[in-house]
Structure formats: structure tokens, C-alpha cells
């Protein structure tokens, strides 16, 4: 990356953070969706136990995923700005 212009670098950086944002919004959206399903089941009295039981497993899985994704994006992207 010796011959890259500052404008190129800046655009690349913007795209990278957008990518990171998209990943976070995507996984976060799934977690939000699961919680919406619990709420719906609760309001309709439609076997909320199933929703809660499954969410107890699913939500931590997605949160762990989110954690790994954030740590990678953060770890790699901020490392470059420090360089």
C-alpha cells in the first residue's frame, strides 16, 4: 500500500467501518428479532416457554458471535490507525 493516495485510504477506511457496522447491525438485528418473538409469544400466550427456552441458548450464541466480530474489527482496524 505504498502508492495509495490519502483519499483512497480514507474511502477504504470508511468502507471498512461500514462493513463492521453492517456486521454488528446484522447480528444485533437477529438478537432483537428473537426478543421480539418472545414478546409476541408472551402477549399471545402462545407457549412462551418454548421461546424463552430456545432464546436462552440462541441469544448467548449470537452475542458471542457479536463479541468475536466486534473484537476482530476493532482489533484490526484500530491497530492500523495506530500505525
Amino acid at each position: 500500500m505504498s502508492d495509495s493516495s490519502p483519499a483512497f485510504d480514507r474511502n477504504v477506511r470508511i468502507a471498512q467501518w461500514t462493513l463492521a457496522g453492517f456486521a454488528v447491525v446484522f447480528v444485533g438485528g437477529i438478537v432483537g428479532w428473537i426478543m421480539h418473538l418472545i414478546r409476541t409469544a408472551w402477549r399471545l400466550k402462545d407457549v412462551p416457554s418454548a421461546s424463552i427456552g430456545i432464546s436462552l441458548v440462541a441469544i448467548p450464541v449470537f452475542l458471542t458471535l457479536l463479541g468475536v466480530i466486534v473484537s476482530v474489527f476493532w482489533g484490526l482496524l484500530t491497530d492500523r490507525s495506530a500505525r
Binding site: 477504504v12 462493513l19 437477529i30 409469544a41 407457549v47 430456545i54 458471535l65 473484537s71 482489533g75
Partner: protein, 453 residues
């Protein structure tokens, strides 16, 4: 492309830099398949599922079979790659990437089958708005989205250093590679971040993968239909999935090896080891199938037996016995002794297994639906050109995704091969040393000294 490091693995850059006529021919053929699928879907979207061969009582056919099959193939990858990574199997290096690519590409296709199968695809969002966790379909949706996210990320992570190599050396598509490389320069901190993330993902992806095919099987086993309502279905489907996944991986390896002359990277030993894995899975699959059918047969429950006989001697006998032959007899015969034909034998066995596993899914789904409990006439399902088209289109799209990936990214992990040369060799030697009795100290002698003293 002057760097000595790059020069050494020149063969791995060839797919990215050179595009021959074969590529365009392949894309054209795949495009034709996809076009067929697209036309079929267009017709089906307009007229309804009536254009398929589905009816009462066989309301699920090719699409659901394809769904289970494709999701099964997706176990190729991530699972194999994760297990091999965790067990520090050094021979994994040239094949993990390919396995992960298959997983990610095929899981999109698998999930897409549900959309094709819906009578009202325009209402797909109802699943998100009004989804109920009591339905196994929602378990699928959750599990598959976890798997999709995890395996995409798990493909991407080990790709980052390779993308950085491409960014610095390829000279083409710099914008794409610069963005995706996430500013990778190979610093110690970056390596630490990446390795930790890969390790976590490798552990995480295994239970997620197992859960995916377990809940896919639950779609069937949670009902009270004969030959579906079986407690063995979860593990049975997972075993079948890994089985078909390995087979698909072997076929893909052989194709890529042939086209891009990667004989130096994908050696007979890789096929041999995967062949052993395939052999184990063949035996496991047979064991599961045997257990499943013997239980049904011995119990002799009338509804169960209707389905049983329709598979063994009834209208489904050709498909059933073809399944047994393709999944067990042929692979067993070929894989027991590989001899000097490791590649050809494993590849032929794998091709049979891929077909056989598709038949297995079909044999689970359709015969049960064809034999209702009440005295209805038996259902006869025969797919129309619509279903054939959408199946061809799905395969075409899957292969096209893989072909495009090979054009854009290295299909064999460059940095991991380099790491194997630089770090792996030493590590293995050291590790091997720890397996052996410690040199210099002889515990037996020590013991004797103590006794003497």
C-alpha cells in the same frame, strides 16, 4: 508479483490472474442452468405451486429434499475445517479454505429452498413478524442464521491475511482487497487478534453445525407421522450431513486440482486421509440406517410398515436400494483398500455418495407422505420440469458462487501454507517430542535408584 514469497506459491495465484476459455464455458453452462431455474421459478411464482408435481398427500417433494440435502452439504466445511484445526492436523492446510467456501455458498442455496417451497413467498416476512418458537421451522431459521453468520465469518477470518497478500501483490481489484483486508499488515497484535478469533470460532462453529442438522431433522421427527417420528433422527441427519459434506469436499478438491493443476498442493495423501474419514462416515451412516429401519421393522406397527414396505419392495424400491448401494456398498468396496489409487477411488466413491445422500433425503420425505394413515389412495409423486429446473438452477448457482470465489480469492490458503512451512514443521517436531518419553531422564532407572537407596 515479484516477491520471492509469492513466487514460491505462484500456482495459487494462477486462478486469480489468468482466465481461460474454460472459465467462460463453465459460466455459460452454469448460467444456462440458472436461467432454467429462473424461468421455472418465474412460472411457479405466477401460477402457484400447481405447476409442480406436488399434490395431496405428497405436499413436500423436491424442494424440501433439496433443502435438507444442501444444508447437509454445508456440513462439509466448517465442521471438517474446525475439527481439523482444533486437532492440529497439519494436512488440513490446503483444504480448510475449500471446505469453508462450500459451506458458506451452499447454505445460502439451502436456505433459499425454503423460499422456493413456499406457496406465498410474498409473505415470507410473516416469519419474522409473527414467528412462533413452537414451530420447528423457527428453530431452523434461528439455527441456520447462526450457522450462516458463524461460517461466513469463519471463512472470512483466515482469509484476511490472504486478502492482504492480494492487495499488496496482485495489482487488480485493489479497492476490494484493500477494504476486505481490514488494514492487515501482519503485526504481532493483529496476529494475536486473528488467531484468538479463529480459535473461538472453530470451537463455536462445531455445536452450531450439529444443531443445524439436528433441528432440520426435527422438522420431520417432531410430527407423529410414521417413519418420521423417530428419536434417532437428529444424530442420523447429522451423520448423513457430514457424510455428504465430506463427499462434496472431495469432489470439489478433485475438480480444482484438475483444472488449476494444483497437484503439488492437493496430494494423494489428502485424498487418502479424507477417504478414511469418508469410510468411517459410510460405516456410521449404515449403522444409523440399519438401526432406524430395524427398529421400525421389528416393532411391526402397521402404519410404519406401510412406509417400510413401500421403500423396500414398493414403488420406492429403486430409489431405496440405489441409496443403499451408493451410500454403502460402493463406497465400502472402494474405500476399504485405497492402494495406489487414492484419488480416483475416493473421488468415485464421493460422487456416488453425493447422489446417494440426495436419494436418502428423498427416501425419508416422500414415502412417508405418500402413505397416509387413513384409507386414502396412495400418493404418486413425480416432479415436473419446474422442479427439475429449480434443482438444476440451485446446483448451478451453488457452483457459480464457488467458481466466482475461486476467481476472486485464493482457494488454497496461501498464508497457512507458508505458515506450515515456517512454523508448522517446527511445531510438529516439538509436539512429537512431547509425545515421546523424556530424553535423558529414565523413569525406570530413577525408580530403581530410589528402591536401591
Amino acid at each position: 508479483m515479484s516477491d520471492a514469497v509469492v513466487e514460491r506459491d505462484r500456482a495459487l495465484f494462477v486462478p486469480l490472474t489468468q482466465t481461460g476459455r474454460g472459465f467462460y464455458v463453465t459460466v455459460a453452462i452454469l448460467g444456462a442452468m440458472i436461467l432454467w431455474g429462473a424461468i421455472a421459478y418465474w412460472v411457479q411464482f405466477g401460477e402457484g405451486l400447481g405447476v409442480t408435481g406436488l399434490h395431496q398427500p405428497v405436499s413436500w417433494g423436491f424442494y424440501v429434499t433439496n433443502f435438507v440435502f444442501f444444508i447437509g452439504i454445508s456440513h462439509a466445511g466448517t465442521l471438517i475445517s474446525a475439527i481439523l484445526r482444533l486437532s492440529k492436523a497439519e494436512w488440513r492446510r490446503p483444504i480448510t479454505r475449500m471446505a469453508e467456501v462450500i459451506t458458506v455458498m451452499v447454505i445460502f442455496i439451502g436456505a433459499g429452498q425454503i423460499l422456493i417451497d413456499l406457496g406465498r413467498p410474498d409473505r415470507l416476512l410473516n416469519v419474522i413478524r409473527f414467528g412462533r418458537y413452537q414451530s420447528p421451522l423457527l428453530w431452523d431459521a434461528t439455527s441456520i442464521s447462526a450457522y450462516l453468520t458463524a461460517s461466513t465469518f469463519y471463512l472470512y477470518l483466515p482469509l484476511i491475511p490472504d486478502i492482504a497478500i492480494l492487495r499488496d501483490h496482485l495489482g487488480k481489484r485493489r479497492w476490494l482487497y484493500a477494504v476486505l483486508a481490514l488494514g492487515w499488515t501482519g503485526t504481532e497484535h493483529q496476529h494475536k487478534v486473528l488467531n484468538r478469533a479463529i480459535a473461538i470460532m472453530a470451537v463455536m462453529v462445531i455445536p452450531i453445525a450439529v444443531s443445524v442438522h439436528t433441528v432440520v431433522s426435527f422438522v420431520f421427527s417432531m410430527t407423529i407421522q410414521p417413519a418420521w417420528h423417530s428419536s434417532i433422527f437428529g444424530p442420523y441427519f447429522v451423520v448423513g450431513a457430514i457424510f455428504s459434506g465430506i463427499a462434496a469436499l472431495i469432489v470439489a478438491m478433485a475438480v480444482i486440482r484438475r483444472i488449476y493443476h494444483l497437484d503439488g498442493y492437493l496430494k494423494p495423501v489428502h485424498f487418502r486421509y479424507l477417504g478414511y474419514l469418508l469410510l468411517v462416515m459410510t460405516l456410521l451412516w449404515f449403522y444409523m440406517t440399519f438401526a432406524e429401519y430395524l427398529t421400525g421393522y421389528y416393532g411391526n406397527e402397521p402404519e410404519e410398515m406401510k412406509v417400510f414396505w413401500s421403500k423396500f419392495t414398493g414403488p420406492f424400491w429403486p430409489l431405496f436400494w440405489a441409496m443403499v448401494t451408493f451410500n454403502f456398498v460402493i463406497p465400502l468396496g472402494l474405500l476399504v483398500r485405497l492402494g495406489h489409487h487414492a484419488i480416483s477411488k475416493t473421488v468415485v466413491a464421493s460422487m456416488f455418495v453425493v447422489v446417494g445422500m440426495w436419494l436418502e433425503r428423498f427416501n425419508i420425505i416422500v414415502p412417508t407422505l405418500s402413505n397416509p394413515r387413513l384409507p386414502f389412495p396412495e400418493g404418486h409423486y413425480w416432479p415436473t420440469w419446474i422442479e427439475w429446473g429449480e434443482t438444476a438452477g440451485s446446483f448451478g448457482l451453488f457452483i457459480l458462487f464457488c467458481v466466482l470465489f475461486v476467481k476472486l480469492f485464493p482457494i488454497i490458503s496461501i498464508w497457512e501454507i507458508q505458515e506450515g512451512r515456517e512454523v508448522g514443521l517446527k511445531e510438529v517436531e516439538e509436539r512429537l517430542r512431547t509425545y515421546l518419553p523424556d530424553e535423558g531422564s529414565h523413569p525406570a532407572a530413577h525408580g530403581r535408584e530410589k528402591v536401591l537407596a
